[in-house]
C-alpha cells in the first residue's frame, strides 16, 4: 500500500531531497528541470509509478540551508516557468519586479549564517483582494484599478516576516463574486489541466498558479468555496481555516461573517505550513481567536514512518446528500474510491445525512449578497479608487460605481439591497440567519458522531469557459458542496483524490474534508496520511510536465 518510492526515514525533521548534487543553471531548460526535481510527483505524466507530493517549502529550506541551491536559483526557476506559461494561463494580474532582489538578500543572509524564517525562499502568490503595499490591489475590479494600499494585509505581512517572497497578485472574480474568474474585470484565467476550461473561482488565479508551479504556495480567500472549489478544479490542495483562525485585516470584505483567508499548496504539508505562518490573533481584527495556534508541522510525518493502519479508529462520515442525484457520476466514483482508501487506512466510514443541506445555498446567497451590498458601499470614488467626475455628489457616486463595478457585482448588490430593504428583512435575511442556525447545529451533531466529514468539493470537474457565464443560478448551484461550511464557520481541506475524463490528461476531482472548529491540525494530519498513501495518482498538469526538460 505504501509506495516503494518513499524517501527513507530521515534523520532530520525534513524529508530528504532526492538529488544529492548541487544544481547550477544558466538557461531556462535547467530552471525547469529544477522544478521537476523538487516536485517529486513530477516525472512525466506517462509515468506509471509516481511518488506522492513532497513539501516544496521543506525541500527548498533543506536545499538552501545545506547550500545545495541558492534562493536566487530557485526564484529564477519559478519565474522562468511563470513567464513561459502565463500567456496561456493568465493567473497573475501583477508580477513583482523585486523577486530576485529579495532572493539575493536572502542568499546574503544565509551566507552570513543568519537565522532565516520557516518560509525562507518560498515563492508565494497572493490573491488580489489581499492588500499589498508594494503591488497594486484591485480585488479584480476596475473601481480599484491601479490602487496601491498604504498597508499590507496581516496575512501578507506574516508571510513576508517569515521569509516568504511575494511573486505577484493573482487573478480573481471581482470582489470574490464568482466561481470561474470570468467575473474578473481584467482577464480570464485558464485551467492548467485544459486551457479551454475554467480554473474555478473566485481564487482561480491562486489555484492555477500553484497547479502550474508558477509559485510554490498561494493565498486566497473563501466566502462560499472560493478556495476549495478552484483547488478541486486545478488538482491542488486548498485549505479553508476556521472563521477566526486567520486575520481578515487587509482582506477586501465581501461578506464579513463568511470570509476567511485560505491557503493553496501542491501538498497538504505546504498548505498546513503556510496556514501556520498566517494564523493567530491580530489586534486589527477583533473576530480573530485568541486561542493558541498548534504547531501543524508536527503532523507531517514521512509516509515511510506510518504503520499499516495509520488512521485506525478514525470515524469518517460521508455526507449522503453530496453523492446523490445531481452530482456527476465521475465525481461520485472518485469520492467513493476515496472512502475505500480511508477504510484501507483503518477508518470506519459511515454515511451521514444532513437534511438541511440544500437549504444552505439560498441562505448563503441571501446573506452574502446582503452583506456585500453593505460592504461594497465604501467604494464611492471619494477616498480611493476610480472617480468619475460629476458636478453633484450622488451622480459622482452613481457614475463611479456604475463604471467601476462589473455586472455580477452590480446584480449582487441590488439583490442584497432588496433583501435588506425595510419590510423584507424578516422574509429573507432573518430567515437565512435562522437556516444558518439549523446548519450549524446539524454539523455539530454530525461531528459528534464522526471525526471528519467528507464530500466532493464541487458537483462536477472544471467546465468550459463561457459555459455558465450567463446563467447565475446554474453557476450558484455549483457552490452547493461548499457554502454550508462557511455558514457554520468550520475548517475544511480539499485535496485531489482522483480524475474524470476530459482534457488531455483527465480532469482532477477534489475530496473535501470538514472538521470541527479550530481542528485544522487534525484535518491536516489525516489529509497528509491520505495523500501520502494514495497510489498511482500524479497531480501535475500537462502544461508543467510538457515544459520540463
Amino acid at each position: 500500500m505504501l509506495s516503494a518510492l518513499q524517501s527513507p526515514r530521515s534523520l532530520s525533521r525534513f524529508p530528504l531531497f532526492h538529488s544529492s548534487k548541487p544544481f547550477l543553471f544558466h538557461s531556462s531548460s535547467h530552471a525547469l528541470s529544477y522544478a521537476s526535481r523538487t516536485d517529486q510527483s513530477t516525472t512525466t505524466t506517462s509515468s506509471s509509478t509516481s511518488s506522492p507530493p513532497q513539501s516544496q517549502i521543506l525541500t527548498t529550506r533543506h536545499s538552501l540551508l545545506s547550500r545545495q541551491l541558492t534562493a536566487t536559483e530557485v526564484a529564477e526557476s519559478y519565474l522562468a516557468r511563470l513567464r513561459l506559461t502565463e500567456p496561456q494561463l493568465n493567473s497573475f494580474l501583477h508580477v513583482s519586479d523585486s523577486v530576485l532582489r529579495e532572493a539575493q538578500d536572502l542568499d546574503r543572509r544565509i551566507a552570513n549564517n543568519e537565522e532565516v524564517g520557516p518560509l525562507a525562499g518560498v515563492l508565494v502568490g497572493v490573491k488580489d483582494n489581499l492588500c499589498t503595499s508594494d503591488l497594486p490591489s484591485t480585488g479584480g475590479s476596475r473601481i480599484l484599478e491601479g490602487y496601491q494600499p498604504p498597508f499590507d494585509a496581516t496575512a501578507v505581512k506574516r508571510v513576508k516576516e517569515l521569509g516568504g517572497i511575494v511573486v505577484g497578485k493573482t487573478n480573481m472574480d471581482e470582489f470574490g463574486m464568482g466561481s470561474t474568474t470570468e467575473g474578473s474585470a481584467f482577464q480570464v484565467t485558464a485551467n492548467p489541466w485544459d486551457i479551454s476550461r475554467v480554473p474555478g473561482g473566485s481564487s482561480g488565479g491562486s489555484a492555477a498558479a500553484v497547479s502550474a508551479r508558477q509559485c510554490m504556495v498561494s493565498l486566497g480567500s473563501d466566502t462560499g468555496g472560493s478556495v476549495r472549489q478552484p483547488a478541486s478544479f486545478c488538482g491542488v490542495v486548498g485549505l479553508k481555516p476556521t472563521y477566526g483562525r486567520v486575520s481578515r485585516f487587509g482582506l477586501m470584505a465581501y461578506a464579513s461573517s463568511l470570509d476567511v483567508v485560505g491557503c493553496f499548496g501542491s501538498s497538504v504539508a505546504d498548505a498546513g505550513i503556510l496556514l501556520h505562518a498566517i494564523s493567530g490573533h491580530d489586534r486589527f481584527d477583533a473576530t480573530t481567536s485568541k486561542q493558541d495556534v498548534p504547531d501543524f508541522a508536527s503532523h507531517f510525518a514521512p509516509a515511510s514512518s506510518l504503520e499499516s493502519k495509520p488512521l485506525k479508529g478514525l470515524r469518517i462520515g460521508l455526507i449522503r446528500e453530496t453523492v446523490e442525484d445531481g452530482v456527476e457520476s465521475g465525481v461520485v466514483s472518485a469520492i467513493r474510491a476515496a472512502a475505500l482508501h480511508f477504510e484501507e487506512l483503518g477508518c470506519s466510514v459511515n454515511e451521514v445525512s444532513l437534511p438541511s443541506f440544500s437549504l444552505g445555498l439560498a441562505a448563503y446567497y441571501i446573506l452574502a449578497s446582503s452583506e456585500s451590498s453593505s460592504n461594497l458601499s465604501r467604494y464611492d470614488g471619494i477616498r480611493y479608487g476610480k472617480q468619475v467626475f460629476a458636478d453633484e455628489l450622488s451622480s459622482l457616486y452613481g457614475d463611479s460605481r456604475a463604471e467601476g463595478f462589473g455586472s455580477e457585482v452590480k446584480m449582487r448588490i441590488l439583490m442584497g439591497t432588496y433583501a435588506l430593504s425595510a419590510g423584507y428583512y424578516d422574509a429573507y435575511y432573518k430567515r437565512a440567519q435562522q437556516v444558518r442556525t439549523i446548519i450549524r447545529n446539524s454539523f455539530k451533531e454530525a461531528l459528534n458522531q464522526n471525526d471528519v466529514l467528507i464530500s466532493p468539493a464541487a458537483p462536477s470537474p472544471a467546465y468550459k469557459i463561457g459555459e455558465k457565464k450567463n446563467d447565475p443560478l446554474a453557476m450558484y448551484a455549483g457552490d452547493i458542496m461548499t457554502v454550508n461550511v462557511n455558514l457554520a464557520g468550520l475548517p475544511a481541506l480539499v485535496l485531489p483524490c482522483g480524475f474524470v475524463e476530459g482534457g488531455s490528461a483527465g480532469l482532477p476531482v477534489g475530496l473535501q474534508m470538514i472538521g470541527s472548529a479550530f481542528c485544522e491540525g487534525e484535518l491536516l494530519r489525516v489529509g497528509h496520511i491520505f495523500e501520502q498513501t494514495l497510489e498511482n495518482c500524479n497531480f501535475v498538469p500537462p502544461i508543467v510536465a510538457d515544459n520540463s526538460a
Binding site: D325, G326, R401
Partner: protein, 150 residues
C-alpha cells in the same frame, strides 16, 4: 409551496438538486402556508393593508439602483431585471420552511464574546493614505455639491 422553486436552464444536476430539496422539505418541515404569490410573481401587487400576510412586491431594479447609488443604464436594467427576479424567486424557497423558535445566527460564532476595547488607533502612514484620494485640498477631501433630491 410553488413548484418553481429553482429556475434553472439546461443543467440537469441543478434541477435534480431542487427536487431533492423539495423531497426533504416535505419530509422534514411544515409549510407556513405562505401565499403562492411569492413564486407566481405575475399575480402580485397587493396594495390592501388589511391583509395579514402581505405579498412582497417584485424587485424594482431602478429603485434599488438608486438606493444602492449605482447609475444603471437602461439596457442594464432590462438585462438585470429578469436575472434578479429569478434569483429572488429562488430565495423565496425559505418561505416554505418551518423556522418557528429557531434563533437567528448573526455569525458562525466559532468563538464567543470576542470583543476588543472600543478605543481608536491612529494609522501611522497618513501620507500614503492621503495620496490615494482623487480630489484633496489639505485638510479637506473635496466632493462636488450635494443636492437633496429626496
Amino acid at each position: 409551496m410553488g413548484s418553481r422553486v429553482f429556475l434553472l436552464k439546461g443543467v440537469s444536476y441543478s434541477s435534480a438538486m431542487g427536487n431533492s430539496f423539495l423531497t426533504h422539505s416535505r419530509r422534514s418541515f411544515n409549510y407556513f402556508g405562505f401565499p403562492k404569490v411569492i413564486v407566481h410573481h405575475d399575480r402580485v401587487r397587493s396594495c390592501s393593508s388589511t391583509k395579514i400576510q402581505s405579498s412582497l412586491p417584485p424587485p424594482d431594479v431602478t429603485r434599488l439602483a438608486e438606493t444602492a447609488r449605482i447609475a444603471l443604464a437602461s439596457n442594464e436594467v432590462e438585462e438585470f431585471a429578469p436575472k434578479i427576479q429569478q434569483v429572488i424567486d429562488w430565495f423565496g424557497q425559505l418561505q416554505g420552511v418551518d423556522l418557528e423558535s429557531i434563533e437567528p445566527s448573526i455569525r458562525a460564532d466559532t468563538e464567543n464574546n470576542n470583543v476588543r476595547d472600543d478605543v481608536p488607533e491612529t494609522f501611522d502612514d497618513r501620507g500614503t493614505m492621503v495620496a490615494s484620494i482623487p480630489s484633496y485640498e489639505e485638510p479637506y477631501i473635496k466632493v462636488p455639491k450635494v443636492l437633496n433630491t429626496e
